[in-house]
Amino acid sequence: MRPAHACALVLALAGCGISASPDPGLTALLQIPDAQYRPGALPAPSGGPDAISLQTRHAALTIGELREHITGVLGPGTRSAVVGIAGHDGGWLLPAGVPAFETPDDPSVAATVGLADGFPPGPFTLVVWGGDDQGRFGAPATVDLIADAAPTPAGELVIALAWDGVADLDLHVVDPLGGEAWADDPNTWVPPPPGEPVDPVAYLTGGILDHDGNASCHRDGRPNEHVIWTMPPPAGTYIVRVDARAMCGGPSEAWYIAAYRNGVLLGAARGVSTGDDVLDPHGAGAGVLALRFTL
């Protein structure tokens, strides 16, 4: 056997061909879970089947959210689909799906997509290419969309807690009237004693906790909590505390507190919670002092 033949035999045994990248694609501007990241330049038409159409449910996507469902129709003979953003390297590879009822001869593609935090706000074009069984691509289908920055919670007074880990942290806010809003009692408004009439909309005068982030160690994508006054807040001194309910396996948790009055920053603070903080009580009045300010 000649050396060249022997070499070819060895390579054939080893299995030639292009390997897929192990890069999970977490730095890509477009995110598609359960698809394979395809780094490098997006495909160029090379004689494969043309993509027919690409649709989204909304014309605008919120940056930092992963919730938009896309569907596409691909030309006959398509085996794979690459989804990407025009003008940016890096796409996501998916197998072509079964045809939709309305297009029985055309394979489909469907995925849930999202835009990474670093995505620039403004217009962009989402593109899909179809590939055949030789890995050749045809003309793409596109859809023009708008990337919107995530809106901050609207309110007269907003106190925000944000962190980036697995821990279950609780925001506690005490208003000048002594009411405290936190996960187990989410409104600073104190109802009147039993027997006294209750104003049915009086609860709206309090600061209300929007949700419990990482509740019971069920991790949110990007955990945060807000206490929001939608009506003019009472004048006086506000106390903001952060309680570490559980570390949920994490070693420590860095957090960030900010208070906004009609969108203007009143004050901010940073801190770190550790396992020692979990040992403290977790009821009303719990937590370490993070911020104090006066209106």
Partner: protein
Amino acid sequence: MAADPQAPPPIATRGDWLFDLTGFVQADAVVWSQASVDELDPSTREPLNEQRFLVRRGLLRAAAHKDALSAAIELDGDTQDGPTVRIFGAQVGWTYAPGASPGDPPDARTLVAVTAGLVPIPFGVDVPANVRTQPFLEQPAMSRALFPGNFDAGLTVAGSYGFARWSLAIMNGAPAGDAQWRGKDPTSSYDFVGRLGADIPGPRRLRVEAGVSALSGTGLHPGIPPTKDGIQWVDDNQNGIVDPTEIQIVPGSPGEPSQKFSRNAVGADVQVHWCLCALGTGTAFFEAALATNLDRGLVYSDPVAASRDLRQLGFVLGAVQDLGPYAQVGVRYDRYDADRDAMDREGTALVNAHKIFSTLAIMASARWADARFTVEYDRERNPFGRGDDGAPTTLAADRLTLRAQVRF
């Protein structure tokens, strides 16, 4: 693990009992890995970095012998997934070796050896082999899939007569490295495993070993416990608001019992040993296995969940050659198809999508006294990626590894 043929004299005696304490440490450095990424696995949150130093194995074996009786326990530590120590093997045994003398090799005149405990699975050559003396850094995919961990709890009867070699075992059927049951047997039935072989000497120090192996056993498909009613929000219109029509009731289910299924395997192996005067000894080897529902390590076989039997086919072939007393080189190719009937839908086409793992391993090592330094390049193919043609393809995983091993 089989007794070390080059074990030093016993370290202690008490009455008629002889005690040995031996071991080895393998320190690895993965200097290059295609699969290495400084990120976390999105699902498991485990680091994806593979370029690192690690202790691949640190094994301590304590053994005791008295006439025909023996006992041994082996502890194995490693840092693959963080520092850990576990029991690797533990056996009690009785040996009947008429005519044997203390200087004989361990298996030379053993007519019958009965061993019970956590013992090597007697299937083929690679699975029960001694990890201290294996020339390649890791086992082939076939062994890692069909017999993960190499050891299982059970009773083994082995022996030799003339050129014949035989070993039969009744075992739990849950190997130490079983990905689902982690060595704890889920069924009351046992697996029967055995190998019949021959060791035939030839002229000019040529020696041929060959054998056939078989396994018959039972696996378990785990049932599901009863569940309660639940609710789930499905954002049908994707407006981010919980609309009344988007709350779905997930009804409770009564649960399902576990189901047993049968699994089996047959295998064949052959090794040719030679001695070249100028270079030293060498070995060429080939081993193959055909199995049904037996993968317990890589692509776990559950024919109940898959609604069909899962058929596996694997083989390994290679050669190792000494280059004088201080060096050795070797090459090995292994290929394992974890599901020979797998299909994948790509668009309107339904295509075969065999789950194939293969590795071409090229090894060179230097030896001095009880130390060994090995460098190995592994070219891996696997079914975890997807290519531009939509078909499964390799997720790049080639690597270069250095290993220093010292035994004592």
